[in-house]
Symmetry: C2
Subunit: 328 residues, 2 copies
């Protein structure tokens, strides 16, 4: 079973077919960066149309059992998430509404301060806000998973501790391997995983040691070392694959409507777009390379199966339903 | 089993307790008259809070199986509907979005011309519009039931014939019993019921012969005669109970934002509010009177059970899920 904990591609029939070619049974896709509630609804609608149009390739994912259904019918189950809490605006009631529509992950921040917590690009991290604590509790209640991939360290640790259910960093790597601003220090990874949370390894070149030139072996050895430190059961892949996106979308991700200036995120004025992917992970067809790479650095078949999808599957099964209920 | 095919009360703990006292297992409640999509979402949110707050009395209803769950736990399952297509605005994609949120009925019109069809108060009924035909097809696909209670005759007959699944008139009475504008002529009732649709009898005094003074026997004899004409299996109750609503809400129902004048609907300037309910149906506690009344006019136990809830139950089971699937 192969599950990817985060993608944001410029979706097309080509990519849906590559998902099948790569044997990817489920993906978590971002459908909001800076969108309001109403704009996010339009993104749900867009996916509903794709589910009709490409019903032989993809299906809507709401519960872990949908992954079983996808496996049985040779399709990829698509689960939804937001990289910012903008879809709930200032209304805690929208948490349940969006969960009803199929949202399963929500980042409390995307780089900047939000109503809920502090993003990793702010100078000062003041932790979970008053509303943040209420919203985490509500997310726990309905089964919307807290994702802190783009949050500051203090906010992340506070969210992990405040949350009554496990939280995630769906897409990042350890900071001591590649000291990118978005990569996570050990104490952050520990706070998330020690409460049953999940950490997804990113293939975004800025998060890789050597960036686009990173080798498969280096990447897989880094995973093996992280498994030694924090336990294999809490690790998965969150590729952050942004295939085929034009630079205008990269710009939307980075600046939304919050500034009139340009912010280059982990890029730069000289290289504003996405760097090229490493040659061993061009797109969804290459998950087999990672699987082989993990075996080659000495991980057991069970460990590899867990990291490639089994661990996400278990996490989905335990965390997408109302608190206290298990939704297969 | 007791199911009411339409209510629009000023909801409160008192009314939720009366539902239990009356042994009402499920109700279809109106949550939009003229609301936009965004305003309708706020009404879903309001109900979500009530489901939390009064979890011992009510629960959200999405499928017929939720009525079984409600019966087993001594609660009332609440199903949602709109008396106007205003929540989908001009966007067919919102049909599936609103179904995901729990909408199960939608009127194509409320008295006036809509984007989809003609309301019963217009001088000219031009039938289903171009968008109307597309939206009925989409409602059929996802399992959102067409309700023509407030539509013109031609629009209703066209909707019944165009729809691939049964449609409803959730709340009205036969026009030949009480010739109110909103009561339905035989050819309209026939068009709906002959395609497997449901007709719900209304307790709204303007729709009763003798209005507030209508007797239980007269009401039940009218039901028995309608059953003789169209078959008992297609009949249920749709009380149109608007308990505890202030006149300001009656005015919202009638004029929304479409006019600056006052429209009195079936009321008048002298009597703008709701007329008093007949003394044998004050509120949800009195469903037992109707049940007894139907027996007293000679209907069999099976027929009475069907009209009091069994027929709605079967209809819910067959029509709330995606076309071709049965959702218990």
């Amino acid at each position: 079973m192969r599950i990817d904990g985060l993608q944001y591609a410029n979706w097309s029939e080509k990519i849906f077919r590559q998902l099948r070619e790569g044997g990817v049974d489920a993906i978590h896709v971002t459908i909001a960066y800076h969108e309001t509630f109403r704009e996010t609804v339009l993104n749900f609608e867009k996916w509903n149309r794709w589910f009709e149009q490409y019903s032989d390739l993809i299906m809507k994912g709401q519960w872990a059992s949908d992954i079983d259904a996808a496996c049985q019918t040779g399709r990829t189950a698509v689960f939804f998430g937001f990289q910012n809490p903008s879809p709930i605006e200032d209304d805690i009631g929208l948490v349940e509404i969006l969960h009803s529509l199929g949202a399963r992950f929500m980042q409390l921040t995307y780089n900047n301060q939000s109503l809920l917590a502090t993003g990793c690009y702010e100078a000062e991290d003041s932790g979970l806000t008053r509303m943040g604590k209420q919203v985490v509790k509500e997310m726990n209640r309905v089964g919307l998973v807290v994702d802190m991939s783009h949050s500051g360290d203090r906010s992340t640790i506070e969210a992990a501790d405040h949350s009554q259910r496990p939280i995630t960093i769906t897409h990042a790597n350890p900071h001591d391997w590649q000291p990118a601003l978005r990569n996570k220090r050990d104490e952050v990874i520990r706070a998330v995983t020690q409460n049953g949370g999940m950490f997804g390894f990113s293939l975004y070149p800025h998060h890789l040691r050597g960036k686009s030139a990173c080798t498969l072996t280096d990447f897989c050895e880094m995973i093996a070392r992280t498994a030694d430190k924090f336990g294999t059961a809490h690790l998965g892949i969150g590729s952050d694959l942004c295939q085929d996106q034009p630079d205008s979308v990269v710009e939307w991700m980075r600046v939304g409507r919050w500034t009139k200036d340009i912010d280059y995120g982990e890029g730069s004025q000289a290289a504003p777009g996405f760097p090229p992917m490493p040659d061993w992970f061009r797109d969804n067809r290459d998950f087999g390379n990672i699987e082989q790479g993990l075996r080659d650095v000495g991980m057991s078949a069970d460990e590899v199966a867990g990291i490639m999808g089994g661990n996400w599957y278990r996490f989905f099964a335990e965390n997408f339903g109302p608190m206290g209920e298990k939704h297969g």
